[in-house]
């Protein structure tokens, strides 16, 4: 069963998890999110916790409420997420990764990595 980190509120962890899925196009922009109950069943969470997570994603403009239909992925949500994630990577993760690469003496030529054309 899913385990949750005790250092963060569960709704926050679920919001992060769902955001990561949205970034991968699941569900795609313009499509409906699974219902609160379906998500609660899938992750074995109290529906109130799921509701809070979806609300947090809504507050970030990633989901929109279509009256009577439920929550949908906002058009442009992936681009917004990508901008936020890129910023987070460059600010928080890259400096640590760079330090580690330097400590290990790994140069760019040893990283099998091709930027997207």
């Amino acid at each position: 069963m899913q385990t949750w980190d005790q250092r963060l509120p569960i709704y926050q962890q679920l919001a992060d998890l769902l955001a990561a899925q949205l970034l991968d196009g699941d569900p795609p922009e313009g499509q409906a999110m699974p219902s609160v109950r379906a998500l609660a069943g899938q992750y074995l969470l109290n529906p109130l916790t799921v509701h809070r997570a979806l609300q947090a994603l809504g507050d970030e403009g990633l989901l929109e409420n279509r009256r009577g239909l439920g929550l949908y992925v906002t058009p442009g949500a992936r681009d917004r997420l990508r901008v936020v994630e890129r910023e987070r990577f460059l600010q928080a993760e890259w400096p640590r990764l760079r330090d580690r690469l330097r400590r290990l003496g790994i140069g760019p030529e040893q990283l099998e990595w091709e930027p997207l054309a």
Binding site: M1, G41, N46
Partner: protein
């Protein structure tokens, strides 16, 4: 649990159940609002089953108890129209086919929907023509839940529903329960001692110790009232000496955790990192004799 009178599905006040001289349930006062998922936690013999029996009129109780506005002992038939119950000793007849059980339920219970039962069973691997004796333990539990959840009731009471099931069956059981039952109006009470497994499902906790209610709180309020601090071994002594310590757990590596009932002094809080209090830690702390706790370290 803040709710107006009519939103309360269960109201107990000074509820006591005696077996001879022993008080199996001792002076409990609590309420359960609509739309909640309530965990009834306690060790074996703590009074969980007795309390559930009292809630459906199967155990005579002193004090006052109202379930769905009714007296369970006096109005048992009316109550069971809108409250459903799977006891810990529940079995389905081994010789029966699932479809026959649906027919039986449709004849017995005015609020049972055969269509709904078939719809719920479609999400399981249980077939309508299967005989109960050919089903695995996990499938029997799911079939049982489907039959009970097909009753248009407001309160479901489940006594140790997943005891003896493997992890996938337990997950499937709770998945169906949450997805098909918890609609924000109906409530469910689940007794278990597999606390960590259902913690994230719960909205409220009732914790029993030797018949007494030691905790009746929403998960939200638990996060506010109790302060859990993870910290390094180096500051362990200061943690243990601080007030109001409830439990101390020396973990492997950096996993030391102190649990306080209320906020410890600011200089102590600054020594650790605040975490969500775990229900297991609370359970261990509150369901033992308190004088044993301080000698833990």
């Amino acid at each position: 649990m803040n709710a107006t009178e009519q939103d309360l599905l269960v109201q107990a006040s000074h509820l006591t159940v005696r077996y001879g001289a022993r008080r199996a349930v001792d002076d409990l006062s609590f309420s359960i609002a609509k739309g909640r998922v309530v965990g009834l936690l306690g060790h074996n013999g703590a009074g969980k089953t007795t309390l559930m029996k009292a809630m459906v009129g199967l155990a005579g109780a002193e004090g006052s108890l109202q379930v769905l506005g009714l007296d369970p002992r006096r109005d048992r038939v009316a109550l069971l129209q809108s409250a459903c119950y799977i006891p810990d000793v529940a079995t389905l007849p081994r010789w029966a086919r699932v479809e026959e059980l649906i027919t039986l339920m449709a004849g017995l219970h005015p609020k049972f929907s055969a269509d709904r039962a078939r719809q719920l069973l479609r999400r399981t691997s249980v077939g309508l023509s299967d005989k109960v004796k050919t089903l695995s333990k996990g499938m029997v539990a799911q079939a049982h839940l489907a039959l009970v959840a097909a009753i248009d009731a407001r309160l479901m009471i489940l006594d140790e529903p997943t005891l003896g099931l493997d992890v996938l069956s337990r997950k499937a059981f709770y998945e169906m329960l949450v997805d098909e039952w918890c609609d924000g109006e109906r409530s469910v009470v689940i007794s278990t001692h597999q606390v960590e497994e259902i913690e994230s499902l719960l909205s409220d906790v009732l914790m029993l110790n030797e018949g007494k209610l030691v905790l009746s709180l929403s998960l939200e309020d638990i996060d506010t009232r109790f302060v859990a601090l993870s910290h390094d071994a180096a500051v362990a002594e200061q943690m243990v000496a601080a007030h109001p310590l409830l439990r101390y757990r020396a973990g492997p590596g950096p996993g030391h955790a102190a649990l306080f009932d209320g906020a410890p002094p600011a200089h102590v809080q600054a020594l650790g990192q605040r975490m969500r209090p775990s229900l297991v830690d609370l359970f261990v702390a509150l369901t033992r004799k308190p004088e044993l706790d301080r000698t833990q370290f």
